[in-house]
């Protein structure tokens, strides 16, 4: 059977979408955590810088009209970090440098008791800078002490690196978990399709009844369509079978009438040339009805071969019934029809097809047998279940044995025998449909043997 064209995979598509979503979420998580951490860490540094600069400003006092600033040890001590960040500061009075780093600029926005944070550059390193001021009131003057404090951000970036690593691990963990969940969810979802598929596959060829097992809502339309398709298929199949049967009926009934008339006429006329004409007519009718029958049989077999209706049968019983059925015809020709072989040959096969095949073989044997000849049907279990039909006729032309089972071929020595040549073809196709084969051979001492093995 043809495989359907495959475009993409639902499972992959679903899994990719879910995993892609998880990846995007994991990235978002990573960036969100990281940016929050940056804020928190920066805020932490700013708080310490502010505390430090405040303690420095608090230490400022006016003495004898001059600013004195007794720098608290703790002001710098609290700035110690695990990464040993560098610290810079400058103390100014009304914009005039008093102490500390002269190259550290006070931010003018911080005058008048304001605070101001800036990012700057100091001695080859990026720094976070705070500028703050405080107005001091002396006995007869006002003055403003201004302080700039700057700190490098090594500890901050170390902390951030660590948080980034943790956030990345968190994101990865989240992603891993989400991916696993995606796979699970995908399998669970696709599993429903798989269940439906195996339930369709498990069905017998004739089982076209609708599916009634509950399925997830999303699959209900599919099952509904499937059921309606099977309903139509069922109808169309029984129509096909009816059609074949009807065709046979339509062809055969008039043929039967004509044949009967021809035969009756043959009884009445005496003139030899008229009789000969009648005989030819009967012969032609037999040939065409046989051909029609075999064509229809063949159509039926082709129709059934795709979906064998296997059942447990005994090949011996099948052969016996056929022998019984055909004995009256064999008797008419004074042929003996005998059955021998194993007492029971059980096999699981399509009864209709096997009967048809064997009947064709016996028909052939009867056709080619000489008067008062013997036809032998043998059923054997070993090496494989098989039915052999042998006659005492002329046998197969040795050079044609291979080609004989091809459709519509007849042996060269069958010129005078009615038959469409389909018998062996039917037998072969039935054998092949069962995974078996057909074997043609000539007997020693004359006669043909056809072995149907399964």
């Amino acid at each position: 059977m043809d495989s359907p064209g495959v475009s993409g995979s639902l499972r992959n598509q679903l899994a990719l979408t879910l995993i892609g979503g998880a990846a995007v979420l994991a990235l978002l998580l990573f960036f969100a955590v990281r940016s929050y951490a940056v804020q928190v860490a920066q805020q932490g540094q700013n708080n310490i810088l502010e505390a430090s600069v405040t303690s420095m400003l608090d230490a400022a006092a006016i003495r004898d009209g001059r600013i004195e600033l007794d720098l608290p040890y703790a002001a710098f001590s609290m700035l110690a970090t695990p990464a040993d960040d560098r610290v810079f500061y400058a103390i100014l009075q009304d914009g005039v440098h008093l102490s500390g780093y002269e190259d550290l600029a006070f931010s003018q926005g911080a005058t008048g008791g304001n605070l101001m944070f800036e990012i700057g550059e100091m001695r080859g390193g990026a720094v976070q800078k705070i500028s703050a001021s405080r107005t001091l009131i002396g006995a007869n003057n006002r003055t403003e002490v201004q302080i700039v404090l700057a700190q490098t951000q090594d500890a901050l970036s170390e902390t951030l690196d660590q948080i980034s690593r943790n956030a990345a691990l968190l994101g990865l963990g989240f992603f891993g978990l989400a991916a696993a969940l995606s796979f699970w969810a995908t399998s669970a979802t696709i599993g429903q399709l798989g269940k439906l598929t195996s339930s369709v596959t498990r069905r017998g060829p004739q089982d076209l009844s609708p599916f009634t097992k509950p399925v997830p809502r999303e699959m209900a339309p599919l099952v509904t369509s499937l059921n309606s398709l099977m309903g139509r298929l069922d109808q169309s199949l029984s129509r096909s079978e009816d059609f074949i049967a009807e065709a046979a009926h339509r062809v055969r009934t008039p043929l039967a009438t004509v044949r009967s008339y021809a035969e009756a006429t043959l009884q009445r006329v005496d003139k030899e040339e008229n009789r000969e004409a009648m005989r030819s007519m009967v012969k032609a009718i037999d040939e065409s009805s046989r051909a029609a029958g075999q064509l229809l049989d063949h159509a039926m077999i082709t129709f059934r071969a795709d979906h064998l209706e296997r059942e447990e049968i005994d090949l011996v019983v099948v052969a016996r019934e056929l022998v019984l059925r055909l004995t009256p015809i064999a008797d008419m020709k004074d042929l003996s029809l005998t059955l021998r072989g194993d007492p029971h040959v059980p096999y699981s096969g399509d009864l209709v097809l096997i009967q048809n095949a064997v009947r064709n073989l016996i028909d052939n044997a009867m056709k080619y047998s000489p008067a008062e000849g013997a036809i032998e049907v043998a059923v054997a279990l070993h090496p494989r279940p098989q039915i052999r039909v042998c006659d005492r006729g002329p046998g197969f032309p040795t050079d044609e044995i291979e080609a004989l089972t091809t459709r519509f071929r007849r042996g060269a020595n069958a010129a005078n025998t009615i038959g469409s040549g389909l018998g062996l073809t039917i037998a072969r196709e039935v054998a092949q449909a069962h995974g078996g084969q057909i074997e043609l051979a000539n007997q020693e001492g004359g006669g043909a043997c056809v072995t149907l093995s399964f």
Binding site: I67, E68, L69, D70, L71, P72, Y73, A74, A75, F76, S77, L79, A80, P82, A83, D84, D85, R86, V87, F88, I91, L98, S99, G100, E102, R123, G124, G125
Partner: protein, 335 residues
């Protein structure tokens, strides 16, 4: 301040300042390919065994060892950082400020204890407590003071014996003296009372440990305060006459530090020396040198050294320094 430095430079430069070292010695002079120039405040004889070991292991490296005071190291280094490969000093505050100001080269490959390094640039390699050193003769039959408070009492008890016979650093000249004084002042008010007592006894002020110990040994002074015990111990002839006291009330322990100049042309060789220095000083080995080892403990007791942190820069602030020095002067120089 910048103008002042320039002025000093001009003066010193014109008077052959470049050759004006306390000591200068070249190790492994003959067959070395590379010469490391080290500026240091540590006396050559204390450092020589370590350098000898280093050049013995690295015959292709020569070392030019230049000795000067701690304040001088700071001054010279700030002016010509490219002239030196390594700076070694006992003035932790000045060293830390040099590093903070960006004069040092971070050495990623040097492994060291976290509390003994700063910015992977400044490496401590000794632990040296400030000590009270006395001439035993002055305390013959008397109880030997074990703390600052006991010293105050001893000095007050016999002012006639100790008048003009007490010595300490002139913190205006000595970087190490200033470091010890400021750390003492942070720790306890006792320091100021001791200074006042010493001021009342016409204290003698010294620029350097060596001079102070010389005077102590020959009996010129009876008590030296805040001297490096290591220097005193190094004097074999002092053993019988001097006694080194580590004050029991609170310790002040200094760490000698070294860093590589950012302007060095031989960063790898300099780093190699620093690595050797810290490992040599960290774990006691046979035939260890004369320098005290780097240690967290002293005689089994926890003795945390002065921390390497930005707070060391506090007392280097000009306003703060001026205020401290004026207090110090008013306490010690009582006219």
């Amino acid at each position: 301040m910048r103008y002042l430095i320039v002025l000093v430079l001009v003066c010193l430069g014109s008077t052959g300042w470049a050759q004006n070292w306390e000591d200068r010695q070249v190790f492994n002079d003959t067959d070395a390919a590379t010469t490391l120039r080290i500026i240091s405040s540590t006396d050559t004889d204390l450092f020589a065994p370590l350098i000898d070991t280093f050049v013995a292991r690295n015959p292709d490296i020569a070392i030019e060892y230049l000795v000067t005071g701690t304040a001088d190291i700071d001054l010279r280094f700030r002016n010509t950082p490219e002239a030196f490969d390594i700076a070694i000093s006992s003035a932790m505050d000045l060293q830390l400020k040099l590093v903070n100001d960006g004069y040092a080269l971070p050495l990623e490959n040097v492994a060291h204890l976290p509390w003994a390094e700063w910015r992977q640039s400044l490496f401590a390699f000794t632990s040296e407590p400030a000590a009270i050193v006395i001439n035993r003769a002055a305390f013959d039959g008397m109880a030997i003071p074990q703390s600052r408070q006991e010293l105050i009492e001893a000095l007050r008890a016999r002012p006639d014996v100790f008048r003009n016979r007490v010595g300490t650093y002139d913190v205006r000249q000595s970087g190490l003296g200033y470091l010890f004084a400021t750390q003492d002042a942070r720790a306890s008010e006792t320091f100021w009372r001791l200074m006042e007592v010493m001021g009342g006894l016409d204290v003698r002020l010294y620029c350097c440990s060596g001079d102070m110990i010389d005077d102590l040994t020959d009996g010129t002074i009876a008590v030296a305060y805040n001297v490096l015990g290591s220097y005193a111990e190094a004097r074999a002839e002092s053993q019988s006459t001097l006694e080194i006291i580590l004050p029991s009330d609170f310790p002040t322990t200094m760490m000698r530090t070294a860093f590589v100049s950012r302007a060095t042309k031989k960063p790898q060789t300099a780093a190699q020396f620093i690595q050797f220095l810290v490992s040599y000083q960290s774990s006691p080995v046979d035939g260890a040198g004369l320098l005290p080892l780097l240690s967290e403990k002293e005689n089994g007791a926890e003795r945390r050294a002065i921390a390497l942190e930005p707070a060391l820069m506090t007392f280097l602030d000009r306003l703060k320094r001026n205020k401290f020095l004026s207090e110090w002067e008013s306490a010690l120089i009582q006219k």
